[in-house]
């Protein structure tokens, strides 16, 4: 069992620890993530880009909440379902969409894989596919901050399935020994591709894993963006002050398949329906409306504005070409070492 278990109480604006504007920003990021994600799904189905797409619809709060309020130099260590972290960290939309389109304007120039969103200018590490990879590398960033005596922090994201990996253990173990400035966000969406969480670990609450490392672990409702933000912000503050890491497990759910080519027929329809009722975006809306910060017209105006932003960014990417084939030779090494080229 996790050390504490919280359910969403209705906090007043003061409890949230955010101004009205702050709360509005948090919500805007949440909504933008949702709209962008659904748009990218649609564009995939329309065959507008190659590869596949990993939707995070249903679990936006788990990435938006912790990221909101971070500094530019703070590091995000994402996996494959963290589009919300990029959005909230302020990565331009054409850069995010560019990555998915894998064109010339993609930060990786089309080299890696769609959904591997990274952007150095905002401290977002480009993920590799090997799960928990960025948990390990991100922990190394935190080690770096500590050695450099900087007061920056790292927020590392991963799914519950990724906690089975040995490298994940080695990273958290190290962070525990050295009290590194890092916050670990475990998005427990109950499934790792087709494997249920019950076949991923002999425990129910993945926050319990923190007990092996000597730092706090908490399990919270991952569909409550305000709770997500508040819990993470506290942990980030702790980390920034040198008090060490926190593992936050957030219970959530992905609405669609593992990627767009997965019908997800290993799940029960009922399970999905239940979770859809806990939609993190609707929930935030209701909360904001209850507080009187949001109104339906205001919301509609916001949707309109975001949609236009997305339209414009998609346009940019649609116009872009792929790189030239010879681009394959670049970025293997620094300019000190040219790559050997065979002529065939």
């Amino acid at each position: 069992m996790a050390e504490k278990k919280q359910t969403a109480k209705k906090p007043s604006l003061k409890q949230v620890g955010l101004s009205e504007q702050g709360l509005m920003d948090l919500y805007t990021n949440l909504l933008k993530t949702r709209l962008l994600d659904e748009r990218l799904r649609k564009l995939f189905r329309q065959g507008r880009y190659a590869g596949t797409y990993f939707s995070a619809v249903g679990q936006e709060a788990t990435t938006v909440g912790p990221t909101y309020g971070l500094r530019d130099e703070d590091i995000i260590a994402p996996s494959h379902r963290e589009i919300g972290a990029s959005v909230t960290k302020g990565v331009p939309l054409d850069v995010i969409i560019g990555q998915v389109y894998a064109r010339r304007n993609s930060p990786d120039k089309g080299k890696s894989h769609p959904c591997h969103y990274g952007y150095r200018a905002r401290g977002v590490i480009t993920p590799a596919s090997t799960l928990a990879g960025q948990t390990i590398v991100g922990t190394g960033c935190a080690m770096g901050f500590k050695i450099l005596k900087k007061d920056n922090v790292v927020v590392a994201f991963f799914g519950e399935g990724s906690t089975s990996r040995g490298g994940w253990h080695e990273a958290l173990n190290y962070a525990g020994i050295h009290k590194l400035p890092i916050v670990y966000i475990c998005q427990n969406n109950l499934w790792a591709e087709s494997v249920p969480a019950t076949l991923q670990a002999g425990i129910r609450d993945f926050a319990d894993r923190a007990k092996a490392y000597g730092f706090p672990g908490v399990t919270i409702d991952g569909n409550d963006v305000v709770l997500m933000h508040r819990t993470a912000a506290e942990a980030i503050e702790r980390a920034r002050k040198g008090k060490g890491p926190t593992l936050i497990e957030c219970k959530t759910y992905r609405w669609y398949g593992h990627s767009e080519i997965d019908p997800a027929d290993y799940r029960q329809a009922e399970e999905l329906e239940n979770w859809k009722k806990k939609d993190p975006v609707l929930r935030a809306e209701k909360f904001m409306m209850d507080l009187g910060i949001l109104t339906t017209p205001k919301r509609e105006a916001l949707v309109e504005q975001i949609d236009q932003e997305i339209d414009a960014a998609v346009q940019v990417c649609e116009k872009e070409k792929y790189v030239e084939p010879e681009e394959a030779y670049n970025d293997v090494y620094s300019e000190d070492f040219p790559v050997w080229r065979d002529e065939y």
Binding site: A50, G51, A102, R103, K109, G110, K111, S112, H113, P114, A128, S129, T130, L131, A132, G161, S162, S164, R165, G166, G167, A192, E193, S194, V195, L199, Q200, A201, Y266, Y322, V323, E324, P325, E326, E327, A328, Y329, V332, V339, W340, R341, D342, Y344
Partner: protein
Amino acid sequence: MKKVTYIEAITQALYEEMERDEKVFLIGQDIGLYGGVFKATKGLMDRFGAERVIDAPISEVYIAGGSVGAALVGLKPVAEIQFADFITPSMDQIIQQMAKMRYRTGGSWTCPMTIRVCCGGEVGGGLYHSQINEQWFFSQPGLIVVLPSTPYDAKGLLKSAIRGNDPVIYFEHKRLYRSVKEEIPDEDFTVPIGKAAIRKEGKDITLVAYGLMCQKTMEAIETLEKDGISCEFIDMRTLRPWDRETILESVKKTSRAVLVQENSKTGGVMAEVSATITEEVFDYLDAPISRVCGLDVPMLPFAPPMEHFFLPNAEKIVRVVKKVMEY
């Protein structure tokens, strides 16, 4: 005789071996409930139950190392690594435990087991769903390494791997899963490990390849034969121990060789084949041995122009063969 795809041949082999020997079991990610990300294990959990078709956690170290343990107590594990890209975490268990179990125990413990590894490019998989990494295992004494290119071999080699007494890395090429189809016998058959297949006889030049590159090479040969170049083509099938004899005999006959490899050139399997040919039949050579390989950059950049540029194809092979013939 039925026409089956490469992936159907794999499913059949697994099914039949599990029927034949109850010691055979499967472990891997998404292989049970889901039937495998490419559906190679479809229906097997229904038939054989969750104790023999195990949906593993995301634990490549354990999938390999746990299988070693199961082999020690008499089972015949067939583990799956979902993508060759994700075999890196298993290296420790494969190299230090599986490959050396017999050797380091002076033969007292043995480790007959198979790891199926889905590999290869030309599927738009990018840097992390296209790797092969066969050269690491190729260079490891104690391991058997196979990489079939046809449904017949896919089935026959997998059966040999499962029935054998040694640890096998069984690569299956995802680009071939549904792109090749052929008639295979209804009755039980195996393909011997360690024997290459002469896919076509010829007298002017020897072409050697494995996996997806067999298709590319066959395509190239069509053009080359039209241009009057008689090609002998050898599909290695087993990479370790590779069939020196068949290849050397062929080169003795043709005096020329072009070796085709999907992976990056430096340090690849074909370097060994080339070096051995020079070492053993130097006198027969009328021209330098040439290799057509993947670029010396990380395998495999995603964007289609780069992916295409990286990979060997029929045109590249034709050009290199002609150059060697003109030598």
